[in-house]
Symmetry: C2
Subunit: 329 residues, 2 copies
């Protein structure tokens, strides 16, 4: 690979002037600049990051630890958002798929230390609490938050997501929604249950008794008995639900099948709504699934911006979602 020294030789100028051109220092004669830029373009020169890092003592590297993301496709938007911002702001994002507590995590930490990463984003597959001790490098938590708030965190505003979705449901004239919530040990669960109940109350409805806990999977595993035990009893008598709100799109998929077994056709006899906006499921279900999208892309962007800007706030940011309408309600 060519060096700046070589370019300087060719341009009959000094090393430093070449460096100035490359670093967009305005104090360079326009003509000199043009000459140097032409040479750079011609030979396709790229300055060595290694040398830059070493001399300037700035790595421009931001680490991204994706914990379990490999098993979950929706969380890829977290990565996309972060990567887009890193690129826009001239940073190098180094991505590692890890599993917390395993060698993969230790390895990622070493690598990032070796590259002198300036900050690390730690992303979880689903909204959860973690216990991440304070280390040398600043951390930003994504889709999770620290037990003791030792790190800035970005999470979805699950209360508000459920609140907004529930308002929409009642505004559309549904009267008897049931909510098949996620396991109670999942952070999002009680936040959403409260959002659901509060929004219903605000609309003058009582949904006590309409919230059911369905057993769902963690990352990757199959939901078991999620809905099979809960749904059938609800569809007898004269107080049957007119909408089933599911804790996540995969559960909704299950619910489509269960409702089919019960002789109900989604979109005609019964409405279904959900959380996540997980492709390709939401589009492939027939009819398409209306769902409250988790703001993963925006969360990823926000995390990277905070990682780059640093700051000592240790705040917890909650981002709102967007309702994606399809034919299921």
């Amino acid at each position: 690979m060519t060096t700046q020294r070589e370019i300087a030789r060719r341009a009959k100028t000094s090393l430093k002037t070449v460096s100035r051109v490359i670093n967009r220092d305005p104090l360079v004669n326009a003509e000199t600049r043009a000459r140097i830029e032409a040479i750079i373009a011609e030979i396709g020169y790229e300055p060595s990051q290694a040398a830059r890092m070493m001399r300037s003592q700035r790595s421009n590297v931001i680490g991204f630890l994706a914990d379990g993301v490999a098993t979950s496709s929706s969380s890829i938007d977290l990565i996309r958002g972060a990567q887009d911002v890193a690129w826009e702001r001239g940073k190098q994002m180094m991505l590692f798929n890890i599993e917390r507590g395993t060698a993969s995590a230790a390895n990622a930490d070493s690598q990032l230390a070796a590259f002198r990463a300036e900050a690390i984003i730690y992303a979880a597959v689903f909204h959860q609490e973690v216990d991440l001790p304070d280390t040398g490098v600043p951390h930003v938590l994504l889709n999770c938050f620290d037990v003791k708030q030792r790190h800035t965190a970005i999470v979805p505003d699950d209360y508000q997501l459920a609140y907004d979705l529930t308002l929409t449901i009642f505004e559309r004239g549904y009267k008897r929604p049931v909510f098949l919530n996620l396991n109670s040990d999942i952070v999002a669960s009680h936040l959403r249950a409260k959002g659901f109940a509060d929004a219903a109350a605000a609309m003058g409805h009582d949904v006590s008794g309409a919230i059911h806990t369905a057993v769902v999977s963690r990352a990757g595993t199959t939901p078991r008995l999620a809905t099979h035990d809960i749904l059938p009893p609800l569809f007898v008598g004269d107080q049957q639900p007119d909408l089933v709100l599911c804790g996540q799109d995969t559960m909704a998929m299950n619910v489509y099948f269960e409702l089919g077994e019960l002789g109900r056709k989604v979109g005609r006899d019964i409405a279904v709504a959900s959380f996540d906006n997980l492709e390709p499921i939401v589009s492939l279900l027939q009819p398409g699934l209306s769902t409250m999208e988790l703001p993963y892309y925006e969360m990823g962007r926000t995390a990277m911006n905070l990682a780059i800007d640093g700051g000592e706030d240790r705040q917890v940011l909650r981002l709102k979602g967007k309702f994606i309408e399809r034919a299921s309600m």
Copy 2:
């Protein structure tokens, strides 16, 4: 961050001896080594990659360009396989989600050039032909191959996948499978059609007329009219199919719904099989979908091994899949 010089000072030894310990050079006195290692552990020292790269003129960096892969969850296994090998072999994999032809691709190329990447793996979402000119750095193509075979390529053995799956189908006693194949402009299509036909012939069956082309999506988009026009005419009369083989799991999902509309229950009245093993769909469908898994993880591993080892072979490697059995057949 501490430097080797500082460690040498503390250990009352020379810089070079510290370097030897870190690089596992056996020619160091055991006692000296122990003393130095203790200090390293105590202060949590990590050698600077930047300095190493610069001095040794080896980056140990392998680039991974994931073209559209981020939008498809199954292809994450390509990434996992490559990353695992990189880690096992002490390389640093730098991952970029790109879209070919856009600025994201150009940016990734610059970054990798700046880091002096030793090789680049280019991964596509689905098995396809690409036209990737020869550049300075060696490339390994993953899930795609070059028009002019200018690069080593790793692809799934789609012919064999279909052949093996079809054998299984006939061995289980199915007599009248129909194959809803992917679009004919998809590379896998004609390979699979041939594998299907050849295996059927080998089992003494004639499947001419049983192969249908269904319009399917590219990365991310929804399949349209995939199966809606094709299936109903097949399910009249006395020569009805006993198994529907789908080009991919997402199509199979569609087929489940279509068959439901036609009053057929999968696993009872009709069998379904497919290609991909795309979670969570395959597990969430009821009954679970039997499918021929694409060997993405192994392909990722192979690509990284070839990227590291270099070599001038320009070979095309075809990897076999594994049949994953669930209740749908």
